[in-house]
């Protein structure tokens, strides 16, 4: 998991690298300089990312200005900032934000319940479902919810919440399962109740993995919010779609570029949140 301070938000719990024994017990004094350098690079990446995103935004700005100067009226009207692009961007953020909130509110408590001894037996089953749920086509899920709830952004939010539930649920369960039993034993041995062991030991230790899951959910949600237009949920997907329909690459590029900017910015926010919220000492 260590390679992901900034960047990969997907599927963070699938491989847990084992502790690698040092070649010689005497040579374990501190992390080799190379590893330290890599860590420094990742930290630098965290601060470099906004600069890169800013540069991409600047490029976008010039490209956009250029298009307006070209004076193609179809393009200009499809890409009107105040009328089209800004509201569409806000819509995507709105959808992604609320569905992520719902996901957290549902998946984390559910994950806690599913890892309690009484229901632990079914947790492998839930994990298997959560795993194969990755193959669930977001597109199809949206259309199915369209059938159930009709058009609109709320349909999108509900569909997204369900879709992004699985990674958070899975990470919560894996995170809680992964807590060293002996640590919990020690806590219980000190007289903690089950509830205290959960809130003071298990949850804090599982936090990094849960947050990683939330970041995945956020990424998925922004990706899917782009598809919201398909069922009348609006968003920047409309602009991409317009570009496709009119066979106008500039419209396509502006739409996709803006989506990418939003996604990158949010992923960066996720990375920062992950860094800030991670308990010290882990």
């Amino acid at each position: 998991m260590s390679d992901a301070a900034y960047g990969p938000a997907m599927n963070r719990v699938d491989t847990q690298p084992e502790a690698v024994p040092e070649p010689d017990a005497t040579a374990t004094s501190s992390a080799p300089p190379a590893t330290r350098r890599a860590r420094a690079i990742r930290t630098a990446g965290l601060w470099l990312a906004p600069v890169m995103i800013g540069l991409l935004a600047l490029l976008f700005f010039f490209y956009y200005r250029g298009l307006q100067a070209d004076g193609n009226s179809t393009v200009i009207s499809a890409l009107d900032w105040g009328d089209k692009l800004l509201p569409q961007t806000i819509r995507i953020v709105y959808i992604a934000f609320w569905s992520t909130v719902i996901v957290i509110l549902v998946a984390v408590p559910l994950g806690i319940v599913l890892t309690r001894p009484a229901v632990r037996r079914i947790s492998p089953f839930v994990l298997a479902v959560a795993n194969s749920g990755q193959a669930l086509p977001a597109y199809g899920l949206l259309v199915i919810f369209l059938g159930i709830m009709g058009q609109g952004r709320f349909t999108v939010i509900v569909a997204l919440s369900l879709y992004a539930l699985l990674p958070v649920l899975r990470n919560t369960m894996v995170g809680l399962d992964g807590v060293d039993r002996s640590v919990i034993e020690a806590g219980r041995g000190m007289g903690m109740t089950k509830m205290q062991a959960l809130t003071r030991i298990e949850l804090p230790l599982a936090v990094p993995i849960v947050i990683a899951g939330v970041r995945t959910a956020l990424t998925l949600n922004i990706g899917m919010a782009t598809l919201a237009f398909l069922i009348g949920g609006g968003g920047l997907g409309i602009t991409i779609q317009t570009g496709l329909k009119l066979n106008q690459d500039p419209i396509l590029i502006v739409g996709a570029w803006l989506v990418a900017l939003v996604a990158l910015s949010f992923d960066w926010l996720g990375a920062v949140a992950e860094r800030v919220l991670k308990p010290r000492g882990l």
């Binding site: 390679d3 992901a4 960047g7 990969p8 938000a9 997907m10 599927n11 699938d14 491989t15 690298p17 084992e18 690698v20 024994p21 040092e22 070649p23 190379a34 590893t35 350098r37 890599a38 690079i41 990742r42 990446g45 795993n131 194969s132 990755q134 193959a135 669930l136 086509p137 977001a138 597109y139 199809g140 899920l141 259309v143 199915i144 369209l146 059938g147 990424t219 922004i222 990706g223 919010a225 782009t226 598809l227 398909l230 997907g237 991409i240 779609q241 570009g243 496709l244 690459d249 396509l252 590029i253 739409g255 996709a256 570029w257 989506v259 990418a260 996604a263 990158l264 949010f266 992923d267």
Partner: protein, 219 residues
């Protein structure tokens, strides 16, 4: 209940066509996975022991994953035109990350003592890689391949939006004829067969993983 029988009738009537799109879908996924696996393993081997390259490459391939699929698909249209190519290119980029990361962690997890003794016995670095390090990292690499495969199957359903093939056509078909007879059946067929394809491929990869894992490493 009636809906479900209805759906089975629909699937039964259209089975040939659904199967054809399933095969198209599978072909896209398998080509992408094959290419992504080869690339990622090569790249993973190259970067694993180079901390700087490793941090940069992993971060970049991770960033790719955060770009929404429709946007990435669309961005390739000006480059390679409409149809399967932009979809496959985008899927390929998505599929890199899980395999790449698992190749690196897999190689990391090879015991240094084992590599030391391989070197000490006079294996060249290529022999160490091919005979020791990659075989030992293989189960972890395959786990990455399985993640990529599941993910790619799901995302490939929107290839239809950029003019590609696959089971997405059943979802889109249902959407464009929304409200008309069989539109819901069509959507469900698209979704169910996509998930089934994902499961079948996952099981196939799991079996392949088991048989391609050296016996001494199997649990």
């Amino acid at each position: 209940m009636e809906n479900i029988t209805n759906w089975f009738t629909y699937v039964n009537d259209n089975f040939e066509y659904i199967l054809e799109e399933t095969i198209n879908h599978a072909r896209i996924v398998l080509i992408v996975i094959a290419l992504a696996t080869v690339t990622s393993v090569l790249l993973g081997v190259l970067i694993q022991r180079r901390p700087v390259a490793r941090a940069v490459v992993l971060a970049l391939s991770g960033i790719v994953l955060t770009i929404p699929s429709l946007a990435l698909f669309a961005l390739f249209i000006p480059v390679v035109g409409i149809g399967n190519p932009p979809a496959m290119l985008a899927l390929y980029l998505y599929a890199l990350m899980p395999v790449l990361r698992n190749t690196v962690t897999g190689l990391d997890s090879v015991s240094p003592a084992v590599v030391e003794s391989a070197k000490g016995m006079g294996m060249s670095s290529t022999q160490q890689l091919l005979r020791v390090r990659l075989p030992l990292a293989w189960p972890v690499i395959m786990a990455g391949v399985r993640i990529s495969s599941l993910m790619t199957v799901g995302i490939a359903a929107i290839a239809i939006l950029v003019g590609g093939d696959g089971l997405g056509s059943y979802i889109q078909g249902g959407l464009t004829r929304f409200g008309l007879p069989n539109s819901e059946n069509s959507v469900w067929a698209g979704v169910v067969f996509t998930v089934l394809l994902g499961l079948v491929l996952d099981i196939a990869f799991a079996i392949f993983q088991r048989f391609s894992t050296p016996r001494g490493l199997r649990a």
